[in-house]
């Protein structure tokens, strides 16, 4: 796409993905505003937590 190029590292790419996917999940999977925010935050925590846990699991397996 044109001259605009962005290079994200692994963690920031996962973080960006987690933010936007959580927003969509929160809005589409719950009824009330409060529930949407809570579920969005829960999804975000699960995405980022999953990345950290998977990262440490790979570190352990590599040793």
């Amino acid at each position: 796409m044109g001259a605009v190029t962005i290079t994200l590292n692994h963690f920031s790419a996962a973080l960006v993905f987690a933010i936007f996917a959580s927003i969509v999940f929160g809005i589409t999977h719950r009824e009330t505003t409060r529930e949407m925010i809570r579920y969005g935050l829960y999804c975000f925590a699960m995405f980022v937590g999953g990345v950290i846990v998977a990262g440490w699991a790979m570190w352990v397996l590599r040793r």
């Binding site: 044109g2 994200l8 927003i23 009330t32």
Partner: protein, 138 residues
Amino acid sequence: MANSTAEKAKVAQPESVSMMAVLAPAIGWLIPGAGHIIQKRWIRGALLFISIVTLFLLGLAMQGRIYHANGGDILDMLGFVGDLGAGALYILTLANDWGQGAIAFATADYGTKFMIVAGLLNFIAVADAYHIAIGKKQ
């Protein structure tokens, strides 16, 4: 008089609901979040638009690859289905010949996945717009 007005309203309501049930998903697919916006869910629509469009554009900026209909193998076809969900963004990308993919960068593969996920998230947003239109969700 009052009864006839009420009867007319009863008759008119299913028609407008069925019209919206077709219109909202169609517009929502073409422009992410627009299916919510035409049903006056302004903030939800704006947030969906920002999330899905940003994810797709980031994927393009990361030099991700866009899939075509005649990709060949099954994984390419699945990628095409995902990309197709982005609606006008996908059409615009194809028309401008963007999204060629750069195999020299590992992160370009992330860009490819970002675009597929943006399309898949838009499918979820379209389903949500439909549920609002038929009254299954507020």
